[in-house]
């Protein structure tokens, strides 16, 4: 008999507590060992997504899918887990190495999934896509290709396109009678005029390092063409020895010495809003950033985003081999399927939803540009149709779309690569030292 306490609740005997404790330990232990393995429960398909603001599109997609006939047919429901953005890759890696691996997971394509592919943890989606018109014709071919490894598809595009764009402050440009540059010489000329007016030409969130990377990505493309990085991406470290890399590093060095990024750029971060604020407040005239700069500014400085934010393509470098229409950045993000999934049918049925018009509409409403082939006719309903169309055409017409270097190469190369880039930007290494350090990677 359990004695009753005055408040009506039960008190627990010591034996009961010990018993309960042991049971909990046992069951947790067992769960960790077995039943939560993705092969165990085939009716629930877990999906990991990057847990930022844009995840609301995936939340809606999951609700829609779980209520659909396709879900009933595949006898599966999706359970979405929004993994906090910081260190998403590290958390995914830990989960994928454990019995609690997700069935479907968000990634950046390229190098970000290479280790999983090599460990045979990914479902090869090549034939699925080929045999399914919805998937095959649903996406822009270049974007679908960017989610592939060695010609095999492992990813289905699931977010907006993220090309890197040169943004500018229209007010500052108008006040100093400047036009967006199309060549490097014009850009240098603008820099000179801006500095004379005591305005930093470019905002740069150097503390995060990846905004520094964007400069090298574009310069190497414009000077040497997309082939230079293609070679590196495919594992040939001698590609770093291409004269275009050295030239790009020297050009960066000149910009820094010239004060193009201001003095304190290494202490400025993009993530905490430092660089966008410098830009929106007119302290810096331009900002090289992914297309998400628009929604960032819309969130922090809506008036600036609506009235004074302009954009243009990264200029052409005189004598360079790269086309001005070439784009760098992230084509988009992808869903990949874990080879150990217990319900591949449900997973693939869910992925097909990403090619649907309903999904594309959600993306557009969120300010993103879908990578679906039907996207163009939806752009008018974007919060800023002008910017949406610019971005869509930029990607659609690009002869080459180079995936961000840090996502394209293996993590054990990208980490030291980013360190070397930072050393170049803070003046800890010369362009020649930069090149030789990169050639030494792997």
């Amino acid at each position: 008999m359990e004695p009753n306490t005055s408040n009506g609740g039960r008190t627990f005997s010591r034996r009961w507590v010990l018993g309960a404790g042991a049971t909990t330990l046992l069951t947790t232990g067992l769960t960790a060992c077995g039943s939560s393995d993705s092969t165990g429960d085939s009716s629930t398909v877990t999906a990991f997504t990057y847990g930022d603001d844009a995840a609301k599109v995936q939340v809606k997609a999951v609700t829609r899918f779980n209520a659909s006939a396709a879900a009933k047919k595949a006898k599966g429901k999706i359970k979405l887990e929004k993994v906090p953005g910081t260190d998403y890759p590290a958390k995914l890696r830990t989960a994928m190495g454990s019995p609690n691996a997700p069935d479907v997971f968000f990634n950046w394509g390229g190098g970000s999934i290479k280790a999983y592919q090599e460990a045979n943890q990914l479902v090869d989606l090549t034939d699925t896509i080929k045999s399914d018109p919805v998937l095959k014709d649903g996406f822009l071919p270049s974007v679908l290709a960017a989610g592939a490894l060695k010609g095999k598809n492992y990813g289905i595009p699931m977010r907006g396109m993220q090309p890197v764009i040169l943004f500018y402050n229209k007010t500052v440009f108008a006040a100093h009678k400047l036009q967006p540059p199309t060549t490097w010489a014009e850009l240098l000329d603008i820099n000179k005029k801006l500095k004379a007016a005591d305005i930093t030409p470019f905002a740069l969130g150097g503390a995060d390092i990846w905004p520094e990377l964007m400069w090298l990505e574009y310069l190497v493309d414009r000077i040497g063409g997309p082939e230079v990085f293609d070679k590196i991406k495919n594992g040939d470290a001698s590609g770093w020895g291409d004269p275009a890399v050295l030239k790009a590093a020297e050009t960066v060095k000149q910009l820094i010495d010239d004060g193009a990024f201001g003095k304190g750029f290494s202490s400025v971060s993009y993530v905490n809003g430092g660089a966008p604020a410098v830009f929106a407040k007119g302290k810096a005239a331009m900002h090289l950033m992914g297309s998400w700069e628009y929604s960032t500014q819309l969130g922090k400085f809506p008036d600036f985003a609506k009235n004074n934010l302009g954009w243009f393509a990264f200029p052409k470098y005189e004598g360079g081999a790269g086309d001005i229409r070439n784009v760098v950045g992230n084509p988009t993000n992808y869903w990949s399927v874990n080879a150990r999934t217990g319900n591949k049918d449900a997973a693939i049925a869910f992925l097909r939803d990403c090619a649907s018009e309903a999904y594309a509409k959600e993306l557009v409403a969120n300010g993103d540009i879908p990578t679906t082939s039907n996207a163009e006719k939806l752009l008018d309903s974007s919060p800023n149709p002008e910017f949406a169309k610019f971005q869509y055409q930029m990607v659609q017409q690009a002869p080459a779309f180079t995936l961000s270097w840090d996502q394209a190469v293996d993590p054990d190369v990208s980490t030291p690569m980013l360190t070397e880039i930072n050393k170049l930007f803070v003046g800890k290494s010369s362009p020649a030292e930069f090149v030789s350090a990169l050639k030494g990677l792997k």
């Binding site: 190495g97 304190g264 905490n272 604020a277």
Partner: protein, 296 residues
């Protein structure tokens, strides 16, 4: 008197009659084995393998150790770690010693101020680092300079932020130590005509010898495993100038997914920290615990 296991007849018993039974130590020992010894053994094992977190670790013999000994970044990292430890120790010891002795006195408002000084220690390291990161922003912070972008600036910022967080704790230790000093010593010194400074250097400081050792060992071992502040404030930058050993280990493990190499760094760190603690304890006579009251 019946002989008991664990206690020899001749040794005095610290708690008078009954000595604690060995079983009492079981929960503590189990925890230590599960959460300290086992992971350490695992790290040593992993340091002889290559493992990217997926599949099974593959043995590679001494490859990681060979790489570690040839890694230029290890030498640099070790230098930064030692510099950081020494500077932090000097900064924190001086400030917390002075604050602690002051807080042991009987001034007005002393209790209130001491309580306020203790607040930073109650905040999480991450929150503190984020706070200072915002304060150090060159455009919108309090100092309009490229603090974190310069080598000395980043280094001093880490020392300062670490001090800001841990000085309250060490102040508390010194306060406790200072309160234990018998009042008669000061009274006698005053009769002999010693002033405040003479009293501080001839009585307070020598009497705080054991306190200083305790505090220093905690500071030095703590500095060796200092991590969150570096991760948030500088990410080892500018370049690699503040990449201390624990950060190097994190980078190898959770950015490059080279868990074998990360384990080698971790093991190396354990060896250094253990050796350093032993040396400190030996050099300072902490192990012998000689009384500061000799001759009294």
């Amino acid at each position: 008197m019946p002989a008991r296991r664990g206690w020899s007849r001749s040794s005095p018993r610290p708690y008078g009659g009954a000595a604690p039974h060995a079983v009492w130590a079981v929960p503590g020992v189990l925890f230590f084995v599960f959460f300290a010894v086992a992971p350490m053994v695992l790290a040593v094992y992993l340091s002889f393998t290559t493992w990217n977190g997926l599949g099974d670790p593959k043995p590679v013999g001494l490859a990681n150790w060979d790489k570690l000994l040839r890694d230029d970044r290890l030498t640099q990292s070790l230098t930064v770690t030692v510099l950081l430890t020494v500077t932090s120790w000097a900064f924190q010891t001086v400030v917390s010693l002075l604050l602690g002795v002051w807080a042991a006195g009987r001034q007005r408002n002393r209790a209130i101020l001491s309580a306020i000084f203790f607040v930073p220690f109650l905040l999480s390291s991450t929150a503190i680092a984020l706070l200072f990161y915002a304060l150090l922003d060159p455009n919108f912070g309090v100092i309009h300079q490229d603090t974190l972008g310069s080598t000395s600036g980043a280094f001093l910022a880490i020392v300062f932020v670490g001090g800001w967080q841990f000085i309250p704790f060490h102040t508390l230790i010194y306060q406790g130590g200072a309160r234990q000093i018998p009042e008669v010593l000061y009274q006698a010194a005053a009769i002999d005509g010693a002033g405040r400074y003479r009293q501080f250097f001839s009585i307070t400081l020598p009497q705080l010898r054991n306190t200083a050792t305790t505090s220093s060992v905690l500071m030095i071992v703590g500095s060796l495993t200092y991590f969150e502040t570096v991760l948030i404030l500088t990410q080892g930058g500018p370049g690699t100038d503040t990449a201390i050993l624990p950060y190097l280990m994190y980078e190898a493990g959770f950015k490059s997914y080279d868990f074998g190499y990360a384990s080698a760094i971790a093991t190396f760190l354990v060896v250094i920290a253990t050796a350093l603690s032993l040396v400190l304890v030996r050099l300072t006579g902490f192990g012998a615990m000689r009384s500061t009251r000799e001759g009294m």
